[in-house]
Symmetry: C2
């Protein structure tokens, strides 16, 4: 491994001068610049980022803490984030928590001690106290889509409530009166907001809210399927179901088919997210587009602005527009 000392030796200058030539943080004579650049070239020198990080308290790394990268929503978000970061030479730690509190906390603490410069967090169980460690270490945190509430934590998320309301209203407009919901885990902010939108729509249409019709999944296909089975077993079952995300909607479709019912005639289904698979299933899933790429990109920009002290104000809360996607499942 070539170090800055090797370069200094070869160029016949001090380490300091090499450092400054590379960083441009202080003027260097033309002659010296040439010699240093030549030496760097000859030796193929690249600074050791660990050493740089230790010295500058800046690791050029951010952490992306999400439930599960195999949920197709997150890879898109990850690419959006990386798009924002790559120009600044930033790299990303990928952390899968499976939505479990201990894992969320463990990763959070872990990356703090790895001196990451910023954290993008999709917290499922975590609440505000959990991020104290990060804030104490002066590491900016952007929370996607959830329940962290702190004056220095920026929020970037879709308008879940509004999206869920539109979805439910669409079902109502199609003549459905008994509408179920398959929701994410309890206490998860996303779940609660989407539930709120569902309830709002019912209320506005003067439909009664029946708690029996709200079943919890955990944002995964298999639990969506089980939830739909529960709904189908109901004495007075719904004619339409709004699902908290597309994965659960696809699971719900599995259960409907198993019961030898037809979508949308016997059961209308709506999702949320508009992952690729939504347009692949038959019938294609009517859903609400959740702008994953943009969420990631904006989160990245917010983080960089905080890291470079370009923004030092109070919490920002960016609500990124969703879009209604009409297909064939209603």
């Amino acid at each position: 491994m070539i170090t800055i000392t090797d370069v200094a030796l070869r160029a016949g200058v001090s380490k300091t001068t090499v450092s400054h030539t590379l960083s441009g943080k202080r003027p260097v004579s033309e002659e010296t610049r040439r010699k240093v650049e030549q030496a760097v070239q000859d030796l193929g020198f690249r600074p050791n980022i660990l050493a740089q990080g230790l010295r500058m308290q800046r690791s050029q790394t951010v952490a992306l803490i999400i439930p599960d990268i195999t949920n197709p929503f997150y890879p898109v978000l990850a690419r959006g984030l990386q798009h924002a970061l790559v120009e600044q030479g930033y790299h990303t730690f990928l952390c899968n928590t499976d939505g479990q509190r201990e894992q969320e906390q463990a990763f959070l603490d872990d990356v703090v001690h790895r001196q990451v410069d910023g954290i993008v967090l999709v917290p499922f169980q975590l609440t505000t106290e959990a991020i104290e460690g990060a804030l104490a270490a002066n590491i900016p945190v952007v929370s996607i889509d959830t329940l962290i509430d702190h004056p220095y934590v920026d929020i970037v998320r879709p308008d879940d409530t509004q999206g869920a309301r539109e979805a439910t209203e669409y079902l109502i407009a199609h003549g459905h009166r008994r509408i179920g919901m398959i929701n994410g885990a309890i206490g998860v902010a996303t779940s609660e907001r989407r539930l709120a939108g569902y309830r709002e729509a019912l209320e506005r249409a003067a439909l009664v809210f029946d708690p029996q019709l709200v079943v919890r999944g955990n944002f995964v296909r298999q639990e969506g399927r089980e939830a739909m089975r529960t709904l189908l077993a109901l004495e007075h079952r719904p004619s339409a179901v709004f699902c908290g995300n597309d994965l659960m909607a696809i699971g719900a479709m599995d259960a409907v088919r198993e019961a030898r019912l037809v979508i949308p005639q016997d059961m209308a289904i709506m999702g949320f997210d508009d992952i690729d698979a939504a347009s692949l299933v038959t019938p294609a899933l009517t859903t609400v587009f959740n702008p994953a790429y943009e969420l990631g990109e904006i989160a990245g920009r917010y983080l960089l602005e905080r890291i470079f002290n370009e923004y030092e104000g109070e919490r920002r809360c960016m609500i990124v527009p969703h879009r209604f996607i009409e297909r064939d499942s209603v």
Copy 2:
């Protein structure tokens, strides 16, 4: 940030002793151990991993360099990898290259200078010379599924040729005589091996290989669609097409439907990988299961064995079994 010095001060011992108490690398009296542990507890000390890495030349980090995390094959591989690594406290840098040589090379060089302890590489354009930097820095590399050929680089991959042969033979067994292939980019090892399997099957069945019937996509849906359009425009078009991966197969299905043809009657289609979407499309895609999770997990184990010098031999080449998945698209 709490440092080891703070702990030493509080426990009334030297930094050295704190370090050794924590690492267990030399005996410590019961009394001292107690005091140190208490101090660690009180202060909430966690070692700074950057500093540790600088000193020990070990960053507790590996890099996963892949074409694109939004290709559903890779998230599964990523989780397999992380499953192998998490117990050792390892984190993963996620690098998306889009299969472009410059980006592959850039990330590779970059992570070398970040002192990663290991690299899992899915190289599309890269050849053996490109990894010299990593090997010179003594960083183990595991190559998934491709063309790196070096005595110290372990390979973990599916049996592409055999899988492709089985797929093509299945089409032949179903009476198809004119069989096309939509393949990945030229020069990519995976593409070439799958092509070889396709050709082997034709040969064994005494069918003539027609270069016109092999169209290149780039492992993405949109290009699969375009490739299928090309095949459909042929004067004497195929009755079945084997696709280099599921994403292209799904794109091919798009094109078949656009042409108002019916799968599998007018056109049989096979894929490769068995991503989740393969079972979601209609008709469900007949394909070859590619064991992404296992590939990632084994790659992780191989890496750790090299990192900890538990294995120091020549290249290992693990061929992980695939599985034929019969569905409805043939």
